[in-house]
């Protein structure tokens, strides 16, 4: 294995923002500390994934699901994360439901639109051709008048 998985880092800007919001105003963080936290977060995800995968395999499933991750949190002694994570999951599910309904609605609207748009386009093309002809005729008339 040439590349260590820890090299997959999370974006620095986001990490910095999370850190700054967690700490009181006026507190700074050195570059080294920030990148160390970023790496720690990556390791955390990898470790949590591994734990969660154990639970999935116990349940004879091949796909990690939310409850596997929550069980992993308890296993890793991060029980204090479980409640806020459950709340976030609820909110996420609601949002996904809303998005799905919204996109289905958009799809219906789009289908209606494309039908009417095609009719409009053909009309517009005819109009353009007529206008060009009219302009040419006007120019001819002007020349005659000048002479």
């Amino acid at each position: 294995m040439a590349e260590r998985p820890e090299d997959l880092n999370l974006p620095n800007a986001v990490i910095t923002r999370i850190i700054k919001e967690a700490l009181p105003d006026g507190v700074n963080i050195s570059k080294e500390a920030r990148s160390a936290i970023s790496r720690a977060a990556s390791v955390f995800v990898l470790y949590a994934t591994s734990c969660a995968n154990n639970f999935a395999m116990k349940g004879k499933r091949k796909t990690l699901n939310a409850s596997d991750v929550l069980s992993a949190m308890e296993e890793m002694e991060f029980q204090r994360f479980v409640t806020p994570l459950k709340e976030a999951l609820e909110a996420y599910r609601r949002e996904q439901k809303g998005k799905k309904e919204a996109s289905e609605q958009k799809k219906k609207d789009k289908d209606k639109k494309t039908d009417s748009e095609e009719q409009d386009k053909s009309r517009d093309e005819d109009n353009d051709e007529d206008e060009e002809r009219m302009e040419e005729e006007e120019q001819n008339e002007e020349e005659e008048v000048d002479n």
Partner: protein
């Protein structure tokens, strides 16, 4: 017309309640903090990390999302713990050693020991 104008501007004369409520209606409310924080970390990167594990076959979207959210909580937690160490040293800048101290001091961070060389 005058009545409509005052109703539109809506302000100093009509006080609907404590001053705090007026700005809250304009800015998105901080009360539902989870709404704003719903996924700060890009799910694609988290997914890449999850896939890096050779034992993992598939991971559901919800699992990825919770991992992202857990990582955020983890960052907050470790930052605060490291800050405690910095405070003891009367510093206002978090240094790498504050992190190392926090990792040694807190049992839950034991999995991080030896990761930073």
């Amino acid at each position: 017309m005058a009545a409509a104008a005052t109703a539109g501007s809506g302000t100093p004369q009509e006080e609907e309640g404590p001053g705090g409520e007026a700005p809250a209606s304009q800015a998105q409310a901080p009360t539902s903090a989870t709404g704003a924080r719903l996924s700060r970390l890009p799910l694609a990167r988290v997914k890449a990390l999850v896939k890096a594990d050779p034992d993992v076959t598939l991971a559901g979207q919800e699992a990825i999302f919770i991992l992202a959210r857990a990582a955020e909580l983890f960052v907050e937690t470790i930052a605060k713990d490291a800050y405690c160490c910095a405070q003891q040293g009367k510093r206002k800048t978090l240094q790498r050693r504050d992190l190392d101290n926090a990792i040694e001091a807190v049992d839950e961070f034991a999995f991080l020991e030896g990761e930073f060389c």
